[in-house]
């Protein structure tokens, strides 16, 4: 799980162009949105693409994404349970 959390942090940084952010800067328990990362609604949509592309999980209902993207840890757990690749 720890590996997945680190991998996920790196992927989030890359997918969302968080140029000056390192994995250590992201608190895996902190809310992803509304925190210091300054993420917005397009970032949320881009994360939906990320988990489909890398882990083969289709999130049909965008409102469901709010729960999944609560924190990196919650996201990692969701991916571990639902991944198809």
């Amino acid at each position: 799980m720890e590996d997945l959390v680190l991998e996920l942090k790196k992927e989030i940084i890359e997918a969302l162009n968080l140029e000056d952010v390192t994995p250590e800067d992201i608190d895996a328990d902190a809310p992803l949105f509304g925190s210091g990362l300054g993420l917005d609604s397009i970032d949320a949509l881009e994360l939906i693409v990320l988990i489909e592309k890398k882990y083969g999980i289709k999130l049909k209902d965008p409102s469901k994404s709010k729960e999944v993207f609560m924190s990196v840890n919650i996201m990692a757990r969701f991916i571990a349970e639902n991944r198809t690749k």
């Binding site: 609604s41 397009i42 693409v49």
Partner: protein
């Protein structure tokens, strides 16, 4: 004030304004559901031309988009009886993505540039002046009418042919799908159960005259304002839309308004925002309708098509129904037109909003009084100027030494002079260029203001549109095995986003406009900027040329200008 001579609408519902109006009045729609169209995995509902219609519209030597726009403009010009080859007339083309479907077939970037399409269309029409294309995302059609109003009022031309068009394809549909903006069913504007928009194909044209014409329709006033909130989400308070409405409707006008034709895309956020803006502008008692349930969202055509249709409806003393609307699902107190009803009033407001935070509105009337505006005299004075090329930076005539060339030069400027706005890294190259150039410009101007303002406009021109973002987005959809359309890249395929980024960063609620020409023409830019000061709120403009063809070919030459003797 400018006056209508003729018009045309071509949509899947018909090829004249009369046919389209009758279809809408009868409650007909060309919306239908598509499964696996263009290899797109998700289903969607759209209003598309049939194969037979496309064949009938096709013109040798022109693309599908150009054929459509040309035919609509030609039909309107013929009806106007103006000999455009000798008259002093300008073609204003309004489009969101123009020839973008050529990107799937043609490797030549110039084919995709909207200015190339405008040039082809103007040549075929026999118009000899240089056309201007407005690419202001979804509000382009209304922006084009605002531009026509200014250029004619300024006395630069006697006539304007204002043509808006867009066709749909894998590029546009996948993009709006990636933004989760599209409904797989027919759209339901302002309704409780609205689930998003439908895209549509159409062209619409208005031929307008500077000289007053008795008993004709007139566009009295128009304005564009920015939310300065977000590049793809409308302001929750409807700031920009309310300001645009306030700029064009005086208290004394309210009595004579038959209706407000809203954008009404049927996305959650747009319709909610519009309701708040309309109520906030004190227009909550005036009937509101939306036409997306008949045509879908026709992008660059929408503002013109919906204006022409509103004119036809008012001529028929009719306020059209909002097809798809049943039960109110917005919090702003507005009065939705759910069925066709009669009116004896002769004025309406067309409002519209789009990505980049821009909002537009015009007030049209069946000639209340005949008048020609005073020509906008004066000249513009350049207060500060920034020029950036892949190897040089010049601020107010003085070179600025920084390490780096090409794309890395822009990052170097950011790191040296800004460094606290990480959103920079999310921007496409065109927006990065516009962003750092403006930062240097404002530094030259002095202390940055952090209060919202409505008196500064951002009006930029280029040639290459958003070609870098277009290519990057294409890469995310071209391979069916690796089809993952990127919403954050798609947003930047709207070139006006750079104006939205600048407005957002600096809390500019003034006008934001993005124009495209097939080559840089400083005289045309200057005339357009002078004419843009006709907006009474505008006291200064961040304007000029900003083009990003590729990492070794880009150019910013932008300035803060004020009108002298205004």
């Amino acid at each position: 004030m400018i006056y209508r001579i003729a018009d045309n609408i071509i949509s899947p519902l018909g090829e004249t304004t009369a046919q389209n109006y009758q279809a809408v009045k009868d409650g007909r729609s060309a919306l239908r559901r598509y499964d696996h169209q263009w290899d797109i995995p998700e289903p969607f509902t759209a209003s598309l031309f049939t194969e037979a219609q496309n064949e009938a519209l096709a013109i040798q030597g022109l693309t599908r988009f150009e054929s459509l726009a040309f035919t609509s403009a030609k039909n309107a010009i013929e009806a106007s009886k103006i000999d455009v080859s000798i008259a002093n007339v300008v073609l204003i083309l309004s489009t969101t993505k123009g020839n973008i479907e050529q990107i799937f077939e043609n490797q030549d970037d110039t084919t995709i540039y909207p200015g190339t399409a405008a040039k082809h269309i103007a040549e075929r029409l026999g118009i000899n002046t240089k056309p201007i294309t407005i690419c202001n995302a979804c509000i382009s059609g209304v922006s084009a009418l605002v531009l026509a109003l200014r250029l004619l009022d300024a006395g630069l031309y006697d006539y304007a042919v204002v043509c808006g068009a867009d066709v749909q394809n894998k590029f546009t549909v996948s993009g709006f799908l990636s933004l989760k903006a599209i409904s797989e069913n027919e759209c339901k504007p302002f309704d409780m159960e609205r689930m998003g928009l439908n895209l549509g194909e159409a062209a619409a044209t208005l031929v307008l005259s500077r000289q007053p014409i008795a008993e004709a329709w007139a566009i009295e006033s128009g304005a564009v304002r920015n939310d300065a909130f977000h590049i793809s989400s409308p302001s929750k308070n409807g700031d920009g839309a309310r300001m645009a409405l306030n700029a064009i409707v005086r208290d004394s006008d309210k009595e004579r308004l038959a209706f407000i034709n809203a954008h009404g895309t049927a996305t959650m956020f747009n319709d909610q925002m519009e309701s708040v803006a309309i109520a906030g502008a004190g227009l909550g008692t005036i009937p509101v309708n939306a036409y997306k349930g008949y045509f879908g969202h026709t992008l660059g055509a929408a503002g013109i098509l919906e204006t022409v249709l509103s004119m036809a409806a008012t001529d028929d003393h009719t306020i059209l129904a909002t097809r798809g609307f049943e039960e109110i699902g917005v919090s702003g107190r507005v009065h939705l037109s759910s069925q066709n009803s009669t009116t004896d009033k002769c004025s309406f407001v067309k409002m519209i909003s789009g990505f980049g935070g821009c909002n537009g509105a015009i007030l049209a009337s069946k000639t209340p009084e005949l008048k020609t505006e005073e020509n906008a005299n004066g000249n513009i004075e350049v207060k500060h100027r920034v020029q950036i090329s892949p190897s040089t930076i010049v601020v107010d005539g003085k070179p600025l030494a920084l390490e780096g060339t090409g794309k890395s030069l822009l990052t170097a400027i950011y790191k040296r002079y800004v460094d606290d706005y990480p959103k920079f890294y999310k921007m496409d190259p065109l927006s990065r260029l516009g962003f750092v150039a403006t930062e240097l410009l404002l530094k030259a101007e002095g202390e940055r203001k952090d209060t919202p303002s409505e008196d500064r406009a951002v009006i930029l021109f280029n040639r290459s549109s958003s070609i870098q973002a277009d290519r990057k987005y294409l890469a995310s959809i071209i391979d069916p095995e690796d089809y993952f359309p990127s919403p954050s890249v798609f947003v930047y395929t709207l070139p006006n986003i750079v104006t939205g980024e600048i407005a957002m960063r600096n809390l500019y609620h003034g006008e934001t406009s993005f124009y495209i020409t097939d080559e840089r023409n400083d005289e045309q830019i200057k005339q357009t900027l002078i004419a843009s000061f006709a907006d009474k709120k505008t006291k200064s403009i961040v304007g000029g040329w900003i083009d990003y063809q590729d990492d070794s070919h880009f150019e910013a030459d932008i300035y803060i200008t004020e009108l002298t003797n205004k």
